[in-house]
Subunit: 336 residues, 4 copies
């Protein structure tokens, strides 16, 4: 049960509501986000919801039977739109393109990618500075100094930054240089990280686990929201399977299903989803038609020389063609 409290509710009214909730036998979790003040009440007893709904200080009340509550579309029908500033919006009514290299490698690289994005009117650049690597001996990214450089060049060109955060202690040093924190597939159930990102309040793009269920993804998003942050995007990036012909199985079924279960925007990553450069564009276009709110993909001026993931990275010519086609496909979808 979600109880939305009136803005600026007096302490004694809140205490009274809490008391009533406990008397019914429910446990109440207080959630204060950027936008509102909620009580999420967990319990199984049957009772008349109007008992609580009519209490002074209650703005709205809903039953939600799913394990996830605040992110459920049964409660909030209106899709969430996330404002990244300067008119860059993610969600309903926008198709968000996020592109860039797997790893941030240096100034020249960032400048050339930024120029490519500016030229094609793309507003969000991806690029990793903290890289999760299977081997301890592999390149782990340029770190915080790389992020500062990345940020400087993007700011000068009106580009927003999405980049991966790997642990709680990085949040504080990264927060001023990031527009969207990305949580990678390997950390999709790193609950302490999710808690901390809830408190950090910056927008978060949460990737589905390596073989995560939709239920797990939605509950992971609930961690972030219930810690105070409503600005969450979900990301389908392919799941692990037996097929050896590609890196992952891009599970586009997830797109329309997530869109019905939650009010949060859904982004697709076709680069990781198929892992082979020649097919990324087909899967990006399919994602648009499946109903995605945006696409995140890898591009580099010389994919062959990229520090990582070169085999799934588009060159600028391929990227430009894809951007145009995705926009046409999105336009067609919106006309339906």
């Amino acid at each position: 049960m979600i109880i939305q409290l009136q803005q600026g509710i007096p302490a004694e009214l809140k205490e009274n509501i809490l008391k009533q909730v406990q008397e019914i036998g429910y446990k109440a979790n207080e959630v204060v986000t950027q936008q509102a003040h909620y009580l999420v009440a967990i319990g199984k007893k049957e009772f008349d919801i109007r008992q609580i709904g009519q209490l002074p200080g209650v703005a709205d009340i809903h039953r939600v039977s799913e394990e996830y509550k605040l992110i459920s579309r049964r409660w909030r029908v209106e899709p969430t739109r996330i404002d990244l500033g300067d008119g860059v919006m993610v969600g309903e009514g926008n198709f968000s393109i996020m592109a860039g290299p797997c790893s941030i490698e240096g100034e020249e690289q960032v400048e050339r990618v930024v120029a490519h994005l500016v030229e094609n009117n793309v507003k969000i650049m991806r690029g990793g500075v903290f890289k999760p690597r299977s081997s301890p001996y592999a390149f782990r990214g340029l770190g915080i100094d790389g992020l500062k450089m990345f940020h400087r060049i993007c700011r000068e060109n009106g580009i927003k930054i999405i980049t991966e955060v790997m642990q709680v202690s990085q949040i504080e040093e990264m927060v001023d240089y990031v527009d969207v924190f990305q949580v990678g597939a390997r950390n999709s159930q790193n609950f302490n990280l999710l808690d901390a990102l809830g408190e950090a309040q910056k927008p978060v793009l949460l990737k589905r686990g390596i073989s995560g269920t939709l239920e797990e993804l939605l509950q992971a998003a609930e961690y972030i929201f219930s810690n105070g942050n409503e600005k969450i995007m979900l990301c389908e990036r392919g799941i692990r399977g037996y097929e050896k012909a590609y890196r992952n199985i891009l599970d586009l079924n997830a797109v329309p299903v997530l869109k019905e279960k939650t009010h949060l925007p859904v982004i697709v990553d076709p680069s990781h989803g198929i892992g082979l450069r020649d097919y990324v564009a087909s899967m990006a276009l399919a994602s648009v038609m499946a109903g995605a709110d945006g696409v995140i993909y890898e591009t580099h001026y010389t994919p062959e020389k990229a520090f990582s993931d070169g085999q799934q990275t588009l060159n600028f010519q391929e990227s430009e063609r894809l951007i145009k086609r995705m926009r046409q496909a999105y336009e067609l979808r919106e006309s339906f």
Copy 2:
């Protein structure tokens, strides 16, 4: 190695080629299809291909390193187009829509579906008369009499029939009433059935196994081709996975990858691929954008009352809307 022989090659020339192939240490399989006469030579020794290529009676020769040969696009670059008669073509340059109920239930049902198809200019109707069922106690379809009725009504209305064949002994009784034989996911490696369908020469739509690899699907198609039948379509219909939110994982990655590996048309079945009516249209549209040559889906005038698969079946209104949108999406794709 594929050796295409000249049409009407004299016996002694063929014998000579066979002898030379054996001398190199290769084993030759002779393949006569509706369209041509081939030797598929299997072996691993290195030799100068021109040795064979210059022999009298050889029209063309190619090395193909994959396990599958005749269906490989490395050998035949030109996409295969299959003529179902009366101007109904499948493959390159066409977008084929195949729609109809899971099971053929009776005359009224067939007539109403046919009317729906005619109205929307759809030329191919699906419908099962032999049904593979997990339980021996479940409805197994109307059988051959149902097929005859199905055929009569379709013929009167210019509609082609695709229906599932489950075993070798059914081929003979079905062949005159069928335009495309469908091989279901559970029979995708029923090699005796594939052999026999190669001999039958009617077009075949071959579904990917329940958790079949692309390699297995392609080799299964090679069975049909190497027994004399070039008229094969492949079908992605979802694979089995851990996710419980839908029936299967529709693996659209398979579409662009198959299109590069083989010259055969690729059809997608979004009804089985997601298994939930509300999302079938999104996945069908995504399939178009991923590059499919056609879509096969389930429709019924009252899905709730369908004998089987009602929960993934569109009603006629949904079907009509989808048909229009798929055609628009296909038109956009062709404009790229």
Copy 3:
């Protein structure tokens, strides 16, 4: 609902029972096996089971809520034991070892394997004469003549034969030369084959599908039983998964779970289950401890030279050591 009829029930009593069953709204399937005469009644209505149970001619009656009925342990608590003749029993109280090459290759090979089995007091030999192969150009086995030779040598030495049947039309030619028909993983839902094996009445070993569920395996067994054949063994042979370090995932969880769900014997195939010779013995021993009624594995006097599956085949020394250890492990398990 399973209604066991009295042996030699007069026709009019049976008709009366059928009529009563239909009046309740159930559909009755008549099943006559080697051992008994049943009606399997399918329906959902609530009614007092004693209504039917007290009818003249009814020997016993049980409700079974699973989709599978006759093979359920809820109905028949006593484990099924299958008599292969000459005192060779499979099931409860026996640990059955079935060993031999992947493919039957020739007389010398069969003689040497038979000698190895005789020496180690193993009574059942495996060996394929009809081989399902992914590629149409691969060796497909010695066929029926190979089977006759295989049978002759085994008979002379008191060895029982288990070998794969791939299609309905093979049953008749094979039936006199086979002690157990094996249904391979790719045919585990070839329902026509299962129907026909039900009628054939010879013992059947039914392998789990490439990625078959236990539910599917049990229903496949129900096909055989409901067509008249109670002599069925189930076989866990590994399922398909994402792990590349071995050929399949041997799912030993299936063993204790199947043993609780059904009265049929459960055999494990560790050779296909892991696919790597060095580890087959460990997995065979683990299978014993998990509760298997037997093990089927591949052995050959020179695995390196075997026509197929050499990389998962034990040599005779390894096989002998394994046989001894499995018997010790079985003895320990029985002492628990």
Copy 4:
């Protein structure tokens, strides 16, 4: 390439070796563990290994082609044994039983479990105080105070503690109260946590990921070792699959394969591996026969009332019977 340096190597000799390694074109990672001093050199050039091997200060040198190096059995053939103090050893020559509840719930519970372990001569108790939960609203464990209580009671009774650590910041507060840190399946690729546990030097039990490959598990262990900690155990705990009849697929194939690839001990968790109480004992016994160095399972005096995982938890009677049987099975295995 692994270069083991002589103990107490003078700085200038080490610098010289590093210089030579760099000149060959390799990147050297210096690793100092509880036991030795290594350089792990990463590169692809061909060169004569004796060039480095003969340098003063080099104790030993090995090429290791796998991505993981220090944990590879190609380098260190001798199995690793881990001393938990007071004569409690894990690895080769021991069969380690680790048992206890899913969650630590309170003093009475800990005391009763400890008494059960003491009575059965089991030396290691499991029990979570920081619990990873899918839902943010679920019970997350008693935390550090629970751990202190758990530790006090265990110390008084000579029992070692294994418990899960979820994030870097917990290590410091936990380290004095823990004998083995457990890394859960969801954190198996939380690389920052692995790095920090490498520095912490306490023994670590590393669980395979929800759908982790063996390669990923081994590389995760390499993270810990290369940060200075050689005391690592690997744990197979079931992987995610399509089968709905049990919680996970216990992949016992992993046991013999891991034992060959690495010198680290391998433990099996049958409780999570099958997730159903009635079958845990069968799978535990199978694990022994597959070659495991130990088993970790859940037990509670009233499983029905356990705070979490009750459906896969043994009661004390079942636990006692299992302990005896596992010891007999281990004895048999050792006799082979």
